[in-house]
């Protein structure tokens, strides 16, 4: 890409979803405390991780994201009682679907971060970026599956 300097390493693009109460505030806290992390994640604020429609995740992959981060309050700390458990279940299902689509499930990460855990939020993002960098660019494009290598259809245990 022309407006970017020549980089030796692959810089993944990651879409991140946060809830309004814990994980977005963890990001705020990482900011106020000037903690440094990799610039590859672009965050979208939802009210709750329970709002996360799986469609959003697939849309992000289809649109060119190399990975997706989902973050919310710790189990038991949800601002809306227990909606983050729903996010957790959807996360498991989405990983299976991704596997069937031939996308490495490791490209989807779930991260619990309380409003006080800016440091964890920052370090986990940097870690995730490294992991995605190791996986390489997502070989998948929005126009369809024609260019995809044949995916072996494996039964995913329930």
């Amino acid at each position: 890409m022309s407006d970017k300097p020549e980089t030796k390493q692959f810089e993944p693009t990651i879409i991140g979803f946060t809830c309004n109460w814990c994980s977005y505030r963890a990001a705020d806290m990482a900011g106020t405390a000037r903690m440094k992390y990799a610039p590859n994640v672009r965050l979208i604020r939802l009210m709750c991780s329970g709002r996360l429609d799986p469609m959003f995740v697939f849309k992000a992959f289809a649109g060119g994201a190399d990975a997706v981060l989902i973050s919310g309050c710790h189990p038991g700390d949800c601002h809306y009682i227990n909606q983050n458990y729903k996010a957790m279940r959807r996360f498991q299902l989405m990983k299976r679907v991704l596997a069937q689509l031939g996308i490495e499930p490791a490209r989807l990460k779930l991260l619990w971060a309380s409003a006080a855990e800016g440091a964890i939020f920052a370090s986990e993002i940097t870690k995730f970026v490294e992991e995605v960098r190791a996986l390489g660019p997502l070989n998948f494009n929005a126009t369809g599956f024609e260019n995809q290598p044949k995916v072996e259809h494996k039964e995913v245990p329930a």
């Binding site: 000037r34 610039p39 709002r51 959003f56 994201a65 409003a115 006080a116 855990e117």
Partner: protein
Amino acid sequence: MEKKEKIGVYVCHCGTNIAGVVNVGEVSTWAAENLKDQGVVIARDYKFMCSSLGQELIQKDIKELGLTRVVVAACSPHLHEATFRNACKGADLNPYLCELVSIREQSSWVHTDKVAATEKAKALISGGVSRVVHHEALEPLHVPIHPATLVVGGGIAGIQAAIEIADAGFQVYLVEREPSIGGHMAQFDKTFTTLDCSACILTPKMVQAGNHPNITLLTYSEVEKVDGYVGNFVVSIRKRARSVNEKDCTGCGICWEKCPKKVVDNVYEVGMGTRKAVYVPFPQAVPKYPVIDRENCTYYIKGTCKACEKFCPTNAINFAQEDEILNIEVGNVILATGYDAFDAHRITQYGYGRLANVFTSLEFERLSNAAGPTGGNIVMRDGKTTPKVVGIVHCVGSRDKNYNEYCSAICCMQSLKFAHLVHERTGAEVYNFYIDIRTPAKGYEEFYHRLLEEGTHFVRGKVAEISDAVRLPGEEGKLIIQVEDTLTGNQLRVPVDMAILSAGLEPRADAKEVAKKFGISCSADGWLIERHPKLDPVSTVTEGIYIAGCVQGPKDIPASVVQGAAAAARILGKIQQKEVLLEPVRASVNQDQCSGCRICNNVCPFNAILFHEDTMVSEVNPALCQGCGTCVAACPAGAISGTGFSNLQILSQIDGLLMLNIPRKEAVV
């Protein structure tokens, strides 16, 4: 799209906070050129968007260019969303048509690579622009505020808050777990630095709280459940059975005089004294009614005795009394549940519990209290010997990563107070073992100087251990405090008769549960988190829930009183407004699309979704809906939409965020 929106993009420098890392000029030029198709008609960058000049810039553009949407790229929406919404409102643009993009907390402050940070800022703005197109004009929800307030915790912070609100003419429920209000302050003998008698300054306040016509005192009670939201909380309170009818009891004291069962008092007397099975914790207790401790009462154990009932002149004893559940409505809540003293048993090398003459700070408070078990005589564990040498150990359980990393803030002053009392009452030689002396408040340093003048020994060094391992002449029968005097570099063995451990403060053992019950968060060590550590220390991220006193972090009496009063002032301000405006983030069901599957009915944590049996569709009750959006994500028919966070808004935002990537993807494939 039928109608083309006109969008203005405003990039804030935030001085150098953003501009120092993100090339703001490049970003605004880029937005003006590349986001035209999305509807951007103007993009500007400015030094401080939140300043009045910055806001006027937006308002001028709205009026002159006819902007229909505004995107501000600046700090976190949790800081300035309201500011820019108000600016829009001032120019007659619906405030909900404004979107704030955080390029400070999420870019300039957390990245060092200027090129990458600038690119990320562009992507975030692109996302914001794509999203704002689909914003709808909304009106905030107006909710009336219930004028009553719940104060949880009857220590000095809670008492202060309750009195302030009650004096202003509003109803307060003051809930306390113990049989009497007063808290830890009621256990103390003297208070630093003025050495006022703690009871002398506290008792009048307790009485005032007890007699106040606007205060409903609920002692021996605990909050069970909290429902609702700011302005309209419904709280269930368990009022434990006292086994005494309050309306008959006169507090005459005959029952506890006649009760044959002595019990070691582990709460008020911290194990140093006894009380009866029917008791008031201390003579000045408020309310004056006793409670029967059913775990220890002979009648509840063996079925006979009833001495209290026999002697009670007003027939107030009621063995059959049961717990009562009260449901109250309040508009605001103050949590002032205080602290637990650090359990000194945990530092085994200090010998507490193993070596008789090692005392904790609370034990010493009782020992020196004229109303305490020794009548204020500072004596050793045998109850008669006056110590000749006393060692006071600072930082017990504080400033130590093995226990608590934080400084407990009060221990230095508490230790100095102890040193003074020991010196004054026994004439004993006193050693203070400290790491640093911290006296940062009015009159505190002067108190330290007074102690220096009194001849108290100060040894700079954290005590390594206290033992009875006698080795040298003169050590027989003494406790040996082993420490490095770090100012001389010598390892010392200081023989003392009595050691006092100045224990730190810890969050209440159940602080995490309490926080959860009230929907707020705790820091990793368990203190409740305030909304802003400097600028908003008594409110929390949950509207309507305030914190005061040690529940927020270790602090002394003056600071607790300040917080209690501050929280009260904040609430009085809210009550005066009579209503509160809520974010109109709510879900709604498009009844034409609803298939009546009822999946949403079960996912809703607030039971806000009703199913109409007749029309076979579901409906969201906006009064109960909290806007989490789980039902929106769960609806298989896509019939539910959430204002402010609709599918269209989020999907468009994803597109926007990824806009910059499409060329690279093509290059890869």
